[in-house]
Symmetry: C2
Subunit: 434 residues, 2 copies
């Protein structure tokens, strides 16, 4: 029981009016992203399972009802209705980790109108952020290439603790290898990883002693070499690597977190190779994103892996996704609004994918190719358990590295063209106005 | 008990090493924002009380410890140390809602080194986001002016449910009047507000019937007039306003959410005034931020209030704040790192404000003006209850509208100049290297 009060106030005032007016029949709402999304040639859908978990527990607690009563906006009949309210509807949705496009319905909720209306705020909140950050992560995966290891370093800049959990989950789903976020590791079974901080180095009288202590105390040490001077730090790391080798161990890697990362990484690689440590890995971090990783690689930077934080977790160049949740059908048939620039598709839709040509049509139409939406919740209960994230991640990585070049291209584009068409029946319905 | 596992993995591996190495004495860390912050002439500090609440409950639960044990990175002695660990330190901090600048220590934590280290992730996460969104909100308050009503409409685009709660709290602290977020209203005592959605209008056979129903069912109706055509919608609103007046009621307002808001608002005002309803308010929304509100006003737009969502809650033009938490002092004295471009101030510092000239010096120095940091937590307990948000909000609004023009200016600036100086003793210490 919970999350009911995470709702925009107007959902409740509208719901009370629906109850009074007898507008309590079934209604369908669709979640979709309006075209175009600048600088995104595709979206990676995510956030569904966390949402379904919220829907299964949706309801209003005693404290919620007491608070609402105190607002003096709601009558006893409506509060009694809320007290009993659970989400009992059907949800059709695209699978998490699917490559999708603006203009396509990604989730279709069918439920008694008040239920369908009241879940809007939390549905939009969870799907918009998870899809935003999964999409950003997918672009970073493409930029880093199939060989590179990617670690989510975003917790300290994400928008709250919960955001960091969503970011870890969505980036792993999109192909990242690990997260620094221990709570996310515990909760979702995501591998956790980390190196060391500047403050550790500064806690010792000198860098060499700090490196020795860390290498002694960590089974796979990655030494942060740039607290004072990165090349001198690398020579200290070499010294520790030699000492480890004498006792039968190997230094795992070194990390660079500042300065001209591409140039420094080549110098560090040369020092390590020259000293007989070609297997010591170089891990780089520091305000990275897909553009900076591409530039790093283009300039001959050498890295085994990347830690990506701030710009991943807040989706730096596009910090919000404008996904919307619109009434598409009720007992009077398909519905749509026609505000300037905000046209939506009417009716309960399906998406068929044939290669990378997507066709949006009405449920019941005979589409060509693979239908993307399936029933994931019936009567307010999930029809299956949570997805196996590790297995989905493998599928997603393979799909990303198989994208056609026109979609995999990461260069900025103000107005991307998406391969989405309407079915003849849907096209006719749309042209017909409301 | 909780939040312990919301930590970057390296905090734990470093902490285990500190324990083994006997580095368990007191250490001080400072939270500050490195200069410069593009497009921000000041910051509004926020997030402290939520952080202090987390620190009071900081610790590792059984499930956390079981998970950590399974990682095979930690020994029994360290896990036993974590099981007993609470935050027992001192926190000095600036008051929430204070106007502050990059380069100034905003929070100074002094605690046994392992405690001080382990709270880093959650401290940065909470302070960075709250200060980011409070700062964005303060700019929007300045743009809207002293007369305008501002409502937080961000829940559906914020990065998770928790982010939306922080956004509502921080924007209210910064001078907003209300939030649409019912849970935030319940939790923080923030006034809640809302209008109606396009889906409500579409749920009726026509707009006029929808308006009539809503006005009947809501004590202070604000009618959304742009589902189909905003001027026709306004005429429908006028008709409903006339019907309400016949029964002794008044229409509260109309809302515009799309199109050319400035031009439409003038046309809507003219229709309302011409029909004898000069007191009916115009509320505008739709991807607003400080720049768009300034433009709306400059173009003669007429609004009683603004709903601000996406661009507030994600701080659209600057979606992350690079606040850092650095070791500044331990039992060997003041500490600092010297990585290129990442220099930090050594020692436990205070900030003195004399007009809008700020001087950063060492605790114990005799500064001129008002000291900004005070002790807010001792022995891991808050020294006072949570701040009175409504009262702080009044103080903040007054401070914002009294800012000198050079700071209140909202125009973009790549490299703002901040009025922050170092005291002679701190200057000498900083010049002396590590």
């Amino acid at each position: 029981m919970g999350q009911g009060a995470f709702v925009d106030l107007y959902e409740l005032t509208m719901a009370q009016s629906y109850l009074r007016q007898g507008l309590t029949g079934e209604a369908s709402f669709a979640y979709f992203v309006r075209a175009p999304v600048p600088h995104r040639r595709f979206l990676l859908f995510a956030g569904l399972d966390p949402l379904l978990g919220v829907l299964e527990g949706f309801g209003f607690g005693e404290d919620d009802l007491a608070y609402l009563e105190g607002l003096r906006l709601f009558d006893g009949a409506f509060l009694a209705h809320l007290e009993r309210l659970r989400f009992t509807g059907e949800v059709r949705a695209v699978e998490e980790g699917e490559v999708v496009f603006p203009g396509e319905p990604l989730v279709v909720v069918t439920a008694p109108r008040i239920e369908a209306q009241l879940v809007e705020t939390v549905l939009l909140n969870l799907l918009n952020y998870a899809t935003l950050v999964a999409t950003k992560a997918a672009r970073i995966v493409l930029a880093a290439g199939e060989e590179a290891v990617l670690v989510d370093f975003s917790p300290r800049r994400d928008h709250g603790v919960e955001a960091a959990l969503h970011a870890a989950r969505a980036s792993y789903l999109a192909g990242f290898h690990a997260t620094s976020n221990v709570e996310a590791g515990k909760r979702y079974g995501i591998p956790v990883a980390g190196t060391m901080a500047h403050s550790y180095v500064m806690s010792f009288p000198d860098e060499l002693r700090a490196f020795r202590a860390f290498a002694h105390d960590h089974p796979q040490p990655i030494l942060l070499v740039d607290t004072y001077d990165p090349l001198q730090g690398t020579r200290h790391a070499v010294q520790v690597a030699r000492e480890l080798r004498q006792v039968g161990r190997e230094l795992f890697g070194v990390r660079l977190d500042s300065g001209d990362l591409a140039a420094l990484s080549r110098e560090v690689r040369a020092i390590l190779d020259g000293a007989g440590f070609p297997a010591v890995r170089i891990f780089v971090s520091g305000d990275l994103d897909e553009e900076r990783i591409q530039e790093f690689r283009a300039r001959g930077g050498v890295a085994w892996g990347y830690g990506v934080g701030t710009r991943l977790g807040v989706s730096w160049d596009l910090p919000a996704l404008g996904g919307v949740y619109k009434l598409v059908e009720d007992d009077r048939g398909p519905r749509r609004k026609t505000s300037p620039g905000k046209v939506s598709l009417p009716g309960r839709c399906q998406v068929w994918r044939d290669g990378f040509r997507d066709v949006v049509g009405l449920i019941g139409e005979q589409g060509e190719g693979r239908p993307l939406l399936s029933v994931v919740m019936e009567g307010g209960r999930r029809v299956a358990g949570p997805p196996d994230l590790a297995q989905r991640r493998s599928v997603v990585r393979e799909a990303l590295f198989s994208l056609p070049p026109a979609l995999a291209d990461l260069s900025p584009v103000a107005d991307p063209h998406y391969p989405v068409e309407l079915s003849p029946r849907l096209g006719a319905l749309t042209a017909g106005g409301r």
